[in-house]
């Protein structure tokens, strides 16, 4: 039985072209871009080409791209780095309740260091109201960080609107674009952001490499001190194969974004319709249209998402739930709770995220398997009477 992979939002396979581009840097071309002429020059050229490709994906220039070890580091660098750099002028940060843990984590860490954080609410689709942003701004606000598209429910935020407010109030604006980059149009100028986080393994590149766009003259205190790599924004010997892989992945996806998005949006709406037709008591999470092309997220009443995923997995289908197992219970998704779902429905969430290689017949397999699974689990469930 062929496996059906519907967890592209978690991580994507590496494209073959990406692997081929990385290969030399895992074999003979082992130079360190910071040293040496003959070996280092090739490495440096390849690195700068990759930087241009990554920059181009979000319409920035290569001088503004800092490579990091992934999206998590990019978010940490942006948030803690900007907050620390501006510590003298204020200590208030605005974010939303539906951010990724790698944004909320740094915010909590800043809180422990005496910062005040405002976690803005969202509407039932997961959207931040720009008016709320405006109201939250104080004299001591130094940073606003609102994600571009949500990783669980796929909802796209009204970023340009929020950026305008940030600009008018002279506050840095960061966005976590890790789910949107390459999948929908992302343009640092149109969005007018100061900082934007990226990650390679969501666009068919390797894990362990990401980037932070830092607009010229925006101040960020480094997280990793040491050598002068990455314009002194980030010390450490450069992950050459990763950087070259990221560059290739960015270059390839750039021209495919439009067509992929159109195809996936159709598949997405097809799957949503089929599931609605065949399973009672399910609810779409996130915005019905203003959402990532490849994202389907439903709450299935009376069952726990973890058990649904396990059953799907046993049928060869990889999916995800927003529920997180801890050592004493299962935590419902903070995103769904913030959107006003009750805890029971928040527990029953299932994310099916599609990508470049998703075929319609794979969705058909899901649409055929899921009703039986839900039926079975509801029969066992004491919540289903």
């Amino acid at each position: 039985m062929e496996r059906v992979y519907l967890d592209y939002a978690a991580t994507t396979p590496v494209r073959h072209e990406v692997f081929e581009a990385m290969k030399p840097y895992l074999n003979e071309a082992f130079g360190n871009p910071s040293t040496l002429y003959s070996y280092g020059e090739e490495a440096r050229d390849a690195m700068e080409e990759a930087r241009r490709d990554v920059a181009a994906l979000v319409n920035s220039t290569s001088g503004d791209i800092v490579f990091t070890s992934g999206g998590t580091e990019a978010n940490n660098l942006a948030i803690k780095g900007a907050a620390l750099a501006l510590q003298g002028t204020g200590n208030h940060v605005i974010t939303s309740a539906v951010e990724h843990h790698s944004v909320l984590g740094p915010c909590h860490s800043l809180e422990r260091q005496g910062f005040e954080i405002t976690y803005l609410p969202v509407d039932c689709y997961g959207r931040v109201d720009p008016d709320d942003v405006k109201k939250a701004i104080k004299g001591k606000t130094v940073l606003i960080t609102i994600m571009h598209a949500n990783n669980e429910v796929g909802t796209i935020q009204p970023l340009a609107h929020i950026a305008k407010i940030a600009r008018e109030n002279n506050v840095y604006f960061h966005t976590d674009a890790i789910q949107s980059q390459g999948h929908i149009h992302v343009n640092v100028e149109e969005l007018d952001v100061d900082l934007l986080s990226m990650s390679a393994h969501k666009i068919y590149g390797p894990k362990g490499i990401g980037a932070l766009y830092v607009r010229k003259d925006v101040k960020v205190t480094p997280l990793l001190d040491g050598g002068e790599q990455e314009g002194s924004y980030r010390a450490g010997t450069e992950n050459m194969p990763g950087i070259v892989g990221f560059g290739t992945a960015a270059r390839l996806i750039k021209n495919e974004t439009g067509a992929d998005a159109a195809r996936l949006s159709k598949l997405r709406d097809y799957l949503i319709a089929r599931l609605h037709d065949s399973i009672p008591d399910i609810y779409l999470n996130g915005h019905p249209s203003d959402r990532l092309p490849g994202n389907v997220n439903i709450s299935i009443d009376f069952v726990e998402g973890d058990s649904v995923c396990l059953d799907l997995d046993l049928e060869g289908i990889c999916a995800a739930t927003g529920s997180a197992c801890t050592t004493s219970s299962i935590e419902p998704s903070h995103v769904l709770l913030a959107m006003g779902r009750n805890k029971e429905l928040a527990h029953g969430s299932l994310r099916l995220s599609m990508g470049k290689w998703t075929k319609k017949d794979e969705l058909d397999r899901v649409a055929e398997a899921l009703p039986g699974i839900v039926y079975r689990l509801r029969e066992i469930s004491p919540l289903y009477k």
Partner: protein, 127 residues
């Protein structure tokens, strides 16, 4: 978005795939209810007890795979025992029988409480 299924043993998977004794028993001699749907774990246990012996046990459960597996396992473990004997089933018995991972120990703990709740219910009904 984490499933962390790789911590599930073959034994958990076997019970999860084919849970034995699903159902409720009407007018059960003892009933136990444990857990909280808002925390993602709910277990129900129904006992049919005659002449001091657990003749039949049924369950319902919602939660992670281990929760469903453990509740089903419990129905098997206690059938044929007296309620007093059932109380001797420990957290470790459940955990060992299912090869539960460290972070799933709480499921065994809840399972133990579930048995206790059902037996206590039986006792309170008897008197």
């Amino acid at each position: 978005m984490a499933g962390r299924f790789s911590e599930y043993s073959e034994k958990v998977l076997a019970y999860f795939k084919n849970p034995r004794n699903v159902g409720v028993i009407k007018d059960a001699g003892g009933e136990g209810f444990i857990g909280d749907p808002t925390r993602g774990v709910t277990m129900e246990l129904y006992l049919k007890i005659d002449e001091g012996i657990i003749l039949d046990a049924r369950f319902k459960a919602s939660g992670c795979g281990a929760t469903i597996a453990a509740t089903s396992l419990i129905t098997e473990l206690i059938k044929g025992k007296t309620p007093e004997e059932a109380l001797f089933i420990t957290e470790k018995d459940i955990s060992d029988a299912l090869d539960l991972s460290e972070r799933k120990q709480y499921v065994a703990e809840l399972g133990r409480e579930l048995i206790e709740a059902a037996v206590n219910d039986y006792r309170s009904k008897k008197t």
